[in-house]
């Protein structure tokens, strides 16, 4: 095991096969290092599984198990049940994409939470089935282009709305459920650390851009992720037992166009009057989020501006080696 | 003493035909016999006709098929005589015990080699305030056939109803004794 870097664990080490600019690779590396070595990771089928394990090779330096697409939360339930009452302090972490969380994995996730398993479920949300080549999922935002929600003479992209996954999870008497973003590392770090201090089922929803599927510059992933938060389309919030207990205040309000224009998957919205109507819908969705969570006037420790500067100003507060995160 | 005895219970869902078969097999086991009991289950709900089967033998029982040639049939609900072929396959000299007030009568006009009518509902209501005819008829079968003993029946009934308290156990023991007496008196012909 390569643990030569004294500053980070490298739970997910280099040499894996992710695309350049992959938001999920960034997010999984952050989450894995913050959680530390005393954990067992269960992975759903998806990009993360595919690009980290290949034939007899593995980029994981933590115990890692993959079974099938839909069952990660149930497999983790079994791992956790097997560890119950035994000596050892390792924790259980589930990793899945939005398909393995919002759609095919939702039933197992619901069961895992309802039964109160002591496990952290991390959803790396890139808003479509990227592993199979960009098909729409229950997480794909309204009006986005995917290969199965293509714009056309009769279509402006995905007709339906993105599921409110956090609300679905929070409705399970959930001890802790939060959203985070690869663009706001200090916030993500605080949330992972908080989640790992708690017991019982916990849920972390990490916004993870996909340059390939979203059709943006591979160097722009963090910028795109930041704009999703700053426009109000992806609010950074925390819920405990269903109640909102933390909100990242927006330092400034950005129009959704600033976010959408960077991505080819929304290009068709800028062509004609139909697209303009959809843009108004998307702005309305962002406005609704801003009202719902009080994103402009929340009383918070820091806002998006400060959090962004904190990240850019230093090494980002990575966990010391061997997971002092707990 | 015996080779193989086969018994078929006919009842309606909720009357205890399945429990009666299980209890009979437990009593036979208690008496040192090989025994087997199983229901012809269904998606039956309360009130639908159900069957259950018992085999008792002094040698290991290998077959798991249903009982087609019973040495006795026990009918927990006399209305089944109108709709179900409860006597089918009954052996020569076979015994039919029916939960009934008067002389049992098949809609088809068939008669059993030996009929025994037992007022099981009435006896059950007297002791339990509920028509639960299975234990009465079980004991009557034991009394009439001698295939299992009353002490063995009392042992398994005590065990079976143990969780429900001494009063329920006591009432069921009373029922057993009365059923056994009726069976011994009526079934000896």
């Amino acid at each position: 095991m390569d643990r030569r870097d004294p500053f980070r664990l490298n739970a997910l080490t280099s040499g894996h096969r992710a695309c350049s600019g992959c938001g999920q690779a960034m997010a999984a590396r952050m989450v894995g290092d913050l959680i530390g070595p005393d954990a067992i990771f269960v992975n759903a089928t998806g990009c993360l599984q595919v690009f980290t394990t290949h034939n007899a090779q593995s980029a994981w330096q933590v115990p890692w198990l993959h079974s099938v697409f839909a069952n990660a939360a149930a497999v983790a339930s079994g791992v956790e049940a097997a560890r119950r009452g035994l000596p050892g302090s390792e924790r259980v972490v589930v990793q899945a994409g939005d398909g393995g969380t919002f759609d095919i994995g939702l039933q197992c996730l619901s069961g895992m939470i309802e039964r109160g398993h002591d496990a952290l479920f991390v959803c790396y949300d890139n808003e479509a089935y990227m592993n199979t080549g960009v098909q729409r999922s229950g997480s794909t935002p309204h009006a986005a282009r995917t290969t199965t929600s293509p714009p056309g003479r009769l279509s402006e992209g995905k007709r339906h709305l993105k599921k409110d996954m956090l609300a679905i999870v929070a409705a399970h008497h959930m001890p802790y459920a939060a959203t985070a973003s690869v663009a706001f590392f200090p916030d993500l770090k605080a949330k992972v650390e908080k989640a790992m201090r708690l017991r019982g089922p916990r849920f972390l929803h990490v916004f993870s851009p996909c340059p390939l599927g979203w059709d943006h510059d591979a160097a722009a992933s963090v910028q795109v992720a930041r704009l999703a938060v700053e426009t109000g389309l992806f609010p950074l919030v925390e819920l405990e037992y269903g109640a909102v207990t933390g909100v990242m205040r927006l330092a400034q309000r950005r129009p959704v166009e600033d976010y959408l224009r960077l991505q080819g998957r929304f290009k068709h919205l800028f062509k004609d009057a139909h697209g303009a109507a959809e843009l108004r819908h998307l702005q309305a969705l962002a406005d609704a989020n801003i009202r719902r969570y009080g994103l402009l006037d929340a009383t918070t420790a820091w806002d998006t501006g400060e959090a962004g500067r904190a990240q850019r100003g230093g090494r980002g507060g990575y966990a010391p080696a061997h997971g002092a995160a707990s | 003493m015996m080779t193989m005895r086969q018994i078929r219970f006919h009842g309606r869902g909720g009357q205890g035909a399945v429990s009666a078969a299980a209890l009979l097999s437990l009593a036979a086991f208690e008496d040192g016999f090989e025994a087997q009991a199983f229901p012809k289950f269904g998606s039956e709900r309360r009130g639908a006709p159900v069957e259950s089967y018992v085999r008792i033998s002094d040698r290991p029982i290998r077959s798991h098929t249903q009982v087609y040639a019973p040495d006795a049939v026990v009918v927990l609900d006399a209305t089944l005589l109108r709709s179900e072929p409860v006597l089918r396959g009954l052996t020569d000299g076979g015994l039919a015990i029916v939960n009934a007030e008067g002389e049992p009568e098949m809609a088809t006009g068939e008669v059993a080699p030996r009929w025994l009518a037992v007022t099981a509902d009435r006896i059950s209501i007297e002791h339990l305030n509920r028509p639960l005819p299975n234990t009465v008829l079980l004991a009557a079968l034991a009394g009439a056939s001698g295939w299992v003993g009353l002490p063995a029946l009392e042992t398994v009934v005590r065990r079976h109803f143990g969780r429900k308290g001494e009063r329920v156990v006591g009432a069921n023991i009373e029922i057993l004794r009365e059923g056994y007496r009726l069976g011994a008196a009526g079934g000896s012909t």
Binding site: A81, Q107 | G42
Partner: protein, 394 residues
């Protein structure tokens, strides 16, 4: 101790004796009583296990998978639709070479929906990479459950013990239950070498490509092949400790000098034995053979056991629709490969809980007294005469 127990209770007692640490299941008739009994044992403190009541069979199999991967002995049970809902995970457990043990309370597969017994559910999963044992009695169910854990853990392969729904699960009959100390000595705690462990982090279930997938599958096939030896030696070891055997891969009955042999699996074997005795008394040279192990398929053992037979009938409670009996086809292939021209009559019956009566078993024996080649495909036992008249020529 010898006790008069319902089959489901007997199996639950056997599972308890094996000390699983994790039990995961979703209720389905006729499996329910097994997990109800286990839940009660855990509630009463008689079994130190985690009972995980999952939201589906798919999740139940997944929980068992995760538990074994984390080093715990695990148990699950299902039937019919539930077993098929597990399908993806069952293949996965086998591919990961995890020693999960489960009971299949065999039940017909819908549509039309039917809660009663046949073998369509588990036989449909014969290619999943699981060892499959079919039992004749509740005593065999108990003994096979204990053997199953030892076989599974020795071979790092999952084992499915298949017992007939209702015919066994709901039948009270005597069973001899071993003492806990005996089982503890015979079945040591699970030591799973590949268990997930932060001290020695390993990756389980990574991706594979065309350049090595075939080798994985070949290794799995070879492991199943080799498991036959383990099944035989485990049955022998069980007999020497507990004094009982039900056969290992196959169990012949009065095969010496038998010219006609009926092969079947599951609980109907008991009535077949009775029928063989009755026909023998009439001077017919018949015998029977119970196929206890369907995977690995004991081709060599069957060829050897049937070397003296002139004609064989296979009576099975499942069908590969559009092809015929499953076991009959595999037996024909085994005989052909061995260069033996043995007519094999394929009979399909007892589907959806239809009782295979002593008369139906005799009829199968009678039909197999025919001369000439056996018809390809299958013949149906006890088909409703009215239905036969309405669809002639089948």
């Amino acid at each position: 101790m010898r006790r008069q127990l319902e089959g489901s209770r007997a199996v639950a007692e056997a599972v308890r004796l094996c000390r699983p640490r994790v039990i995961a299941a979703y209720p389905i008739t006729p499996q329910t009583h097994i997990v109800e009994h286990l839940s009660q044992m855990v509630a009463d403190g008689e079994l130190a296990a985690e009972c995980i009541n999952t939201e589906s069979e798919f999740a139940a199999a997944s929980v068992a998978l995760g538990a074994v991967a984390a080093g715990a002995r695990a148990y699950t049970a299902s039937a019919a639709q539930g077993l098929l809902l597990m399908t993806e995970v069952l293949f996965n457990i086998a591919g990961l070479r995890l020693p999960v043990v489960m009971t299949c309370a065999n039940r017909a597969v819908g549509a039309p929906i039917n809660i009663f017994n046949d073998h369509q559910d588990s036989l449909s999963l014969r290619d999943a990479g699981w060892i499959q044992l079919y039992v004749e009695s509740n005593q065999e169910a108990v003994d096979s459950m204990i053997q199953a854990y030892r076989i599974a853990e020795a071979c790092e392969l999952p084992v499915m013990v298949c017992m007939d729904g209702f015919f066994l699960t709901h039948t009270f009959e005597p069973v001899e239950l071993p003492e806990q100390a005996q089982v503890d000595a015979w079945l040591p705690p699970l030591r799973f070498s590949r268990a997930l462990d932060p001290v020695a982090p390993a990756t389980l279930g990574g991706g594979s490509e065309p350049d090595n997938y075939l080798e994985y599958r070949r290794a799995q096939h070879q492991a199943l092949d080799h498991a036959a030896d383990e099944i035989v030696s485990t049955a022998a070891a069980f007999q020497s400790t507990f004094g009982r055997t039900h056969g290992a891969l196959i169990d012949g009955y009065r095969l010496d000098d038998a010219e006609r042999v009926l092969i079947t699996l599951g609980s109907v074997m008991g009535a077949v034995r009775d029928t063989v005795d009755a026909l023998r008394e009439r001077g017919e040279r018949v015998g029977a053979l119970k196929l206890r192990c369907v995977r690995p398929f004991p081709a060599a053992g069957l060829v050897h056991a049937l070397r003296g037979a002139r004609r064989v009938a296979v009576l099975e409670k499942a069908i590969s629709a559009g092809a015929g009996g499953i076991i009959a086809a595999e037996l024909r292939a085994a005989m052909h490969a061995a260069g033996i021209a043995l007519p094999v009559d394929g009979f399909v019956g007892g589907l959806g809980g239809r009782d295979l009566t002593p008369a139906s078993i005799e009829a199968v024996f009678a039909a197999s007294a025919a001369a000439g080649p056996a018809p390809i495909g299958c013949q149906f036992v006890d088909v409703d005469a009215a239905d036969e008249a309405a669809r002639p020529g089948e």
